[in-house]
């Protein structure tokens, strides 16, 4: 009898111990954690952030690795990550960073300053030709990182740089011990391809890759070696598991969010989804968070490359007056009301209210005035010469502009349809050419277009980090990218202002200089903007601990504090 009881007790004890052993570090019973399912519209093409420029890879890198310093997407402030504190030298060029002690990679190897130096070496290696290197150069010169000891590094900027250390946010710190051989042999470009066993993807981030099913999902589990702790001293991340489902179609994403089989979606909701999601939120299935005004409104621009073949014989396509006239002839409020169902505000330039301190409310802008638009068009020779209600140019040919835009994006296509109708009223014909993304980009890069309505996501609010748009040499200087020297005096003026702005360490001066940039921009309107949508982030009601921001990734920029309450999705 007693023997039997003892056996039973022993059995239970062993079982308990086993359970504790397997559950151990997971803090079973803490009430937080769980499994979060997020969707992503495009699949990654690598695990190697330095090699791949595409966004999903950036997202995965944010989950599985950590930077030295992170920029808070909501406040814009610098937050300690792998570096706990930093100090600037008197000339403001060199920063000394203290690295976190006792941190190990997900495979248990200790993290030291050698890993930081290694990451910088890989970043700037010519053979690697890193996709993020150009964004980490100041005036085409690299930053220099030196190790002062195992846990102190000094980073020297080649020139004064306004945004300062926020630049470090985009560099994931990579494991020297697993990748150095590849870098030395020149094979770094091929490491961490998607067929790498997940266990080999070693990082300092809150999660590690557990499984990848191409075309379906990528599963992450918590990194048991993660260094982060919450304010109560509890180990982060809260989530046990995070799943990225690859769902190419935005409608499908929305359906699954409403049905409760998704917690997070790729980006903000479209205005047309609002009504349905609001009903779901009334049923406590979904939560809607107003994150502010979008920072990447879409713009209409013309191909301003001098002598571009597509504008041959129609010089008026490149005149400032044409763009001003369009800006005057389009009733932005109508676009806000129709296309965005009111969930937007009129936009007159690329810097929206979402940019906080950088936004200049007093900037002069066009107000709806079709009569003035007509007069402007007449001043460049476009007028109705045969009384058919359509404008013709000096040679009598109808004035029509072909605008290429992204196919399948209802916001872009609808905005253009509205612009088309409104410009039609002053006799300016618009042909909308909706193209697949690849074809669209091919035409833009090749300069094979008249006008385009498109945009690129903005990943940082600091203008110095978006110099690719502002500088005439930039790749995202859409209307005439990659100029060797500024083609127009006003582009030169913007270049100069931007350089001064970037090199200044005085925030007030930087804001003032950037306001001047915006003023010059508004004067010539190389891009015409119509509306800046309000960003509403939708999440399942289960998600807690999210701090949604307007900049991508809106929620997953801070994955470690997310948690899921209640029953998780299977």
């Amino acid at each position: 009898m007693w023997k039997r009881l003892l056996q039973l007790v022993l059995f239970v004890a062993i079982l308990g111990a086993l359970a504790w052993y397997f559950e151990g570090p997971r803090e079973a019973g803490s009430g937080i954690g769980g499994r979060l399912v997020a969707s992503q519209r495009t699949e990654p093409d690598s695990y190697n952030r330095l090699v791949s420029p595409i966004y999903p890879v950036e997202l995965i890198s944010r989950l599985t690795s950590a930077p030295l310093i992170r920029v808070n997407h909501v406040s814009g402030a610098l937050e300690p990550a792998l570096a706990t504190e930093w100090a600037a030298s008197s000339d403001g060029l060199t920063f000394t960073l203290k690295l976190r002690q006792g941190v190990t990679f997900s495979d248990g190897t200790p993290f030291t300053s050698a890993d930081v130096l290694f990451s910088f070496r890989a970043l700037y290696d010519r053979k690697v030709a890193s996709a993020i290197a150009s964004g980490m150069m100041i005036n085409d010169k690299p930053l220099v990182a030196r190790a002062l000891d195992d846990h102190t590094v000094a980073i020297t900027f080649p020139a004064p740089y306004g945004p300062g250390l926020s630049i470090l946010d985009s560099l994931p710190i990579l494991p020297r011990h697993t990748l150095e051989a590849a870098l030395d042999s020149g094979d770094f470009g091929n490491v961490w391809g998607l067929n790498t066993p997940p266990a080999d993807i070693v990082g300092l981030g809150p999660f590690v890759v557990a499984e990848y099913q191409p075309g379906q999902r990528m599963r992450f589990v918590r990194n048991l070696h993660y260094w982060g702790k919450d304010s109560a001293g509890r180990a982060l991340p809260y989530l046990d598991e995070l799943v990225l489902e690859f769902i190419p179609d935005q409608n499908a994403e929305m359906l699954r969010l409403q049905a409760g089989s998704l917690d997070l979606v790729t980006d903000e909701i479209r205005a047309e989804d609002y009504a349905a999601l609001e009903r779901a939120s009334a049923e406590h299935k979904v939560q809607l968070v107003d994150a502010g005004v979008s920072v990447d409104p879409t713009g209409l621009w013309f191909n301003l490359k001098p002598g571009a073949p597509s504008v041959k014989g129609r010089a008026w396509l490149q005149r400032d007056e044409l763009r001003h006239a369009i800006s005057l002839a389009v009733d932005r409020q109508k676009i806000v009301d129709t296309v965005f169902l009111g969930a937007a505000e009129p936009a007159y330039g690329p810097v929206t209210r979402g940019y906080g301190p950088w936004f200049v409310p007093s900037l002069p802008h066009a107000s709806f005035d079709p009569a003035r638009a007509k007069a402007l068009l007449e001043s460049i020779g476009l007028k109705d010469r045969d009384g058919d209600g359509q404008l013709e140019d000096a040679s009598g040919k109808p004035a029509r502009i072909a605008v290429i835009t992204r196919k399948g994006s209802t916001l872009l296509e609808h905005t253009m349809a509205s612009v088309q109708e409104q410009l039609g009223r002053i006799g300016l014909g618009v042909d909308i050419v909706a193209l697949e993304r690849g074809e669209l980009i091919r035409r833009i890069v090749g300069g094979d277009y008249e006008a385009a309505y498109y945009g690129a996501p903005v990943l940082s609010l600091d203008p110095a980090n978006n110099s690719d748009l502002w500088l005439s040499s930039g790749n995202f200087h859409f209307w005439n990218p990659g100029q060797t020297s500024p083609a127009t005096p006003w582009e030169k003026q913007i270049d100069d202002l931007m350089h001064a702005q970037s090199e200044s360490m005085d925030m007030a001066r930087r804001v003032a200089l950037f306001a001047d940039v915006q003023r010059v921009f508004a004067e010539h309107e190389p891009m015409v903007f119509f509306a800046a949508p309000k960003v509403t982030v939708a999440m399942s009601a289960r998600v807690t601990g999210a701090e949604p921001a307007v900049v991508q990734p809106q929620v997953l920029w801070k994955p470690e504090t997310l948690a899921v309450t209640g029953a998780a999705i299977r």
Binding site: A129, G215, P248, R437, G438, E439
Partner: protein, 306 residues
């Protein structure tokens, strides 16, 4: 099985295989001829020229077209369809995976259509005054008039507004019904016609005179005889269904061959496009071969033509 039939079958199969290969080759050529390739996406994300060049080299896009085509043809003979640039996986695995999804959908649709269509067809063909037949006739006429696009949209609306069927991506009911209902109606009308023909045939009239009970007459004798022409249709149906329906799969987000082809075309994924074309052509030609064979079995004269 006589020798002529076997010879006929062999000839059809060989020419069908040749067809499928030619179709795949033309798809490959056409996709390569169109401007742009799989790396335009990289350009879009601001990749450096070195990165793009590396990717193009990896995908073999930097070689002249003749070499690419030769390499592709060589792989094809080994059963290797190349690697998809969009998914970074072997095309063959991808196509087979999606073909399985399409097959599941097509199989279900075919089953549903058969189960609904054939019995109703027998009833309305044999007893046109029966209330079932009276109900079926207008209904099937309406269903036959539903285009795939219209059917998929209408079912989606029905499912979304009533909640009777799941509209989540991956739910099979909506796409299967969108395919099955018009097909069921077609089969019903065809079967009814066939039964009508058979019922009025002299041998059945004679059988009825011999006192065989009418229901037995209809369900056993007449339906068996009338099934032969209907069988011939199945080959074509199988071919078209298993090739993947573009409209239904795209609208209902079913991850089948039709959808894959659509995505591959959009992503300029050369190998995937030709792989999909091959799969589609194989299904279509296989369906045609089956149809021809069934027709040849039913009607020996058919062996002479084509």
């Amino acid at each position: 099985m006589n020798l002529a039939l076997v010879r006929f079958a062999l000839r059809r199969i060989v020419s069908a295989a040749a067809f499928a290969l030619i179709v795949a080759a033309s798809a490959f050529t056409l996709t390569r001829l169109a401007p742009g390739d799989a790396t335009t996406e990289l350009v879009a994300s601001g990749a450096r020229p070195e990165v793009i060049a590396r990717e193009r080299a990896r995908l073999g896009l930097d070689r002249p077209f003749s070499q690419q085509a030769l390499a592709w043809a060589r792989g094809m003979l080994r059963g290797d369809l190349g690697e998809s640039s969009m998914f970074g996986r072997p095309v063959r695995a991808l196509v087979l995976e999606r073909a399985a999804a399409t097959a599941r959908l097509a199989g279900l649709a075919l089953l549903v259509a058969t189960l609904i269509g054939l019995p109703l067809g027998v009833i309305s063909g044999a007893t046109p005054r029966h209330w079932v037949a009276r109900l079926t006739a207008p209904l099937s006429l309406a269903l036959v008039s539903i285009l795939p696009v219209v059917g998929a949209l209408a079912l989606l609306l029905l499912a979304a507004s009533t909640g009777w069927l799941s509209i989540e991506p991956g739910a099979i009911a909506v796409p299967a019904l969108a395919l099955a209902l018009p097909l069921a109606a077609s089969l019903e009308r065809l079967q009814a016609q066939a039964v009508r023909d058979v019922v009025s045939a002299p041998d059945l009239v004679a059988a009825a005179a011999r006192g065989i009970p009418p229901h037995r007459l209809i369900w056993v004798h007449a339906s068996r005889q009338s099934l032969r022409p209907v069988l011939g249709v199945y080959g074509v149906v199988i071919g078209s269904l298993f090739g993947g329906s573009f409209a239904v799969e795209v609208i209902t987000a079913w991850p089948g061959l039709g959808r894959l082809m659509y995505d591959a075309l959009r992503g300029r994924d050369v190998f995937l496009v030709s792989g999909c074309a091959l799969a589609g052509a194989v299904c279509l030609t296989a369906g045609n071969v089956i149809a021809d064979l069934l027709r040849a079995i039913v009607d020996p004269r058919a062996r002479e033509t084509s």
